[in-house]
């Protein structure tokens, strides 16, 4: 038998393995954060350039909308978003991911960033959010409260992300001992599992239910009041676009933005 051909096959297989391993490695953001732009502390500099915003997954719809409005109000400014689980975003910011603004779904995940001295000043709470049970349209399993979740397939957020921490608080308050089928990395993951019909219910924010009202119904439960999440926002210390970051943070706290956010189902802080 020919050694050469076998050796070629071996090489090909090893190369293919390497390619596969590379493909599955997920990037968590580079290390090369640019140094802070010249710290001219003028009160209201005109924002320009690109503002990079890292925001909790639950803010996806409303922030995308607000980003467009902000761009329209500030010609020449472009807002790019990175939506994801707050804890993963916080870790990547601490790791040096190039971001100008961070909006988290809980003070605990924001603390990761402030502890690493990566934020400028104190983060400001701009909205609050509560949980709801997401079920497929029409609520086929007739779920009326947290206790009904024990008998069905349920997706929760992992306890590391804010919606998961809130879910644990709510379930503990209700005295419900629930074994979910999966713990998702962000709230949208938990929501899509319901949308796909792979689970019967999931605990998500009421804003997520509202944003996906065509396919999802929401079920309120009293214990949600015990697990309210504050959403803090801050400009970041290593922001490449410090003026743009400050302007965006100010805009999110404006009356205009508040209106959009409350329409999406968020509560005023």
């Amino acid at each position: 038998m020919s050694t050469v051909r076998r050796r070629t096959a071996a090489t090909a297989a090893v190369l293919a393995l390497a390619a596969g391993l590379t493909a599955c490695a997920s990037s968590a953001g580079g290390d090369s954060a640019k140094p802070a732009a010249s710290g001219s502390a003028s009160s209201a500099p005109k924002p320009s350039g690109t503002v990079t915003v890292f925001a909790a997954a639950s803010l996806k719809e409303s922030f995308t909308d607000l980003g467009k409005k902000f761009e329209a109000a500030n010609p020449g400014v472009k807002v790019t978003f990175n939506f994801g689980g707050s804890s993963a975003l916080a870790q990547s910011i601490v790791g040096g991911a190039p971001a100008d603004v961070f909006a988290a779904a809980s003070p605990a995940t924001m603390k990761t960033v402030t502890d690493a001295k990566a934020a400028t000043g104190d983060p400001k709470v701009f909205v609050r959010n509560t949980l709801e049970i997401a079920v497929p349209k029409g609520n086929p399993k007739h779920i009326a409260g947290l206790k009904d979740l024990t008998g069905v397939k349920t997706a929760l957020c992992a306890k590391e992300v804010p919606c998961g921490a809130a879910a644990v608080t709510a379930l503990t308050a209700a005295g419900v001992n629930l074994t979910p089928v999966t713990l998702e990395q962000d709230v949208k993951g938990a929501l899509t599992k319901v949308e796909l019909g792979e689970v019967d219910a999931s605990l998500v924010y009421r804003t997520d239910v509202k944003a996906d009202a065509a396919k999802i119904d929401g079920v309120d439960f009293p214990e949600a009041a015990k697990a309210v999440n504050d959403y803090p926002i801050t400009a970041l210390a290593k922001a490449a676009n410090a003026d743009g970051a400050a302007a965006f943070v100010a805009y999110i706290q404006s009356a205009d933005a508040r209106k959009v956010l409350t329409e999406a189902g968020f509560q005023a802080p």
Partner: protein, 277 residues
């Protein structure tokens, strides 16, 4: 896929080649490449919380994830062997219309991003999937979010490695042995069992190790199709990823365990690969 020792006449030629100076244009990028591959692993070892390591690794969650990883990777390899070896045989030893196309299809998961594989599996085998709906209604069987689901996701990405490896071995093996067996009255199945299999056993072994290693490291398809739940579907790579979000030290400790397993696999294979000519 054994790499046999180089034939003797090559020796003197190689010695002559070694006496020449190595050109810097090759040496420099080669050393950079080496550093690029090795440095991250060194970084892992340097940053490892060695004093807290026993405590980190003695938590039941770590062993739960490791046990699940080892079991599911082994099961995925078994699935790949049972289905992949006959598939490789079909591709290497028979001719049928569209064989090249089928072969391309078989190798597709090699280049397909694993996450896409997970989405595809979910759409086919999920509760509302084409096949999954039928499995659910006929047998009450649902695969997503279960350990068998993890095995399926891993087998999906790992099996092509085995098929390619075994097919290569089969093509390299001399078909005349099988023909000889046939002239002695052996059926095609007997010839496969008694002649072909022993002949390509090293190729099957190497393919199985490749598939096992790929299955052990599987992340994208697993988290998409099987979700994430400790003890049921949370394998080591998923545990590392999630730990990185809240407790980087735990993530480093878990990574060290996976690194140790990988080194152990390489050590076990050193005769086969590391002693390459």
């Amino acid at each position: 896929m054994t790499v046999t020792a180089p034939p003797a006449p090559a020796r003197s030629a190689r010695r002559r080649r070694q006496r020449q100076r190595i050109p810097y244009a090759l040496l420099l990028p080669a050393l950079l490449g080496l550093a690029f591959l090795v440095l991250p692993l060194v970084g892992l070892l340097v940053r490892a919380p060695w004093s807290a390591l026993p405590e980190q690794l003695s938590s039941p969650e770590v062993w739960q994830a490791l046990k699940l990883s080892l079991i599911s990777a082994t099961a995925a390899t078994a699935v790949s062997l049972v289905l992949g070896v006959p598939l490789a045989w079909l591709l290497a030893r028979t001719t049928f219309p569209g064989r090249r196309f089928i072969r391309a299809l078989v190798t597709l998961p090699l280049v397909l991003p694993p996450v896409v594989g997970g989405v595809a599996l979910l759409l086919v085998l999920g509760r509302n999937g084409i096949v999954g709906r039928w499995l659910d209604s006929a047998f009450g069987l649902t695969l997503p979010f279960t350990t068998p689901g993890v095995v399926l996701a891993e087998a999906f990405v790992a099996m092509p490695f085995l098929v390619i490896s075994v097919e290569g071995a089969l093509r390299a093996a001399d078909p005349r042995y099988e023909e000889a067996a046939a002239t002695l009255g052996a059926s095609r199945l007997t010839a496969f069992r008694r002649v072909t299999l022993p002949l390509v056993a090293p190729g099957i072994g190497a393919g199985a190790v490749l598939a096992w290693a790929r299955a052990l490291g599987e992340f994208g398809a697993t988290i998409t199709f099987a979700g994430n739940f400790p003890g049921r579907t949370q394998t080591m790579p998923l545990a590392v990823y999630l730990a990185m979000e809240s407790d980087p030290e735990a993530a480093i400790a878990l990574s060290l365990v996976l690194l140790a397993v990988s080194v152990a696999v390489l050590a076990g294979l050193r005769d086969r690969w590391l002693s390459a000519p």
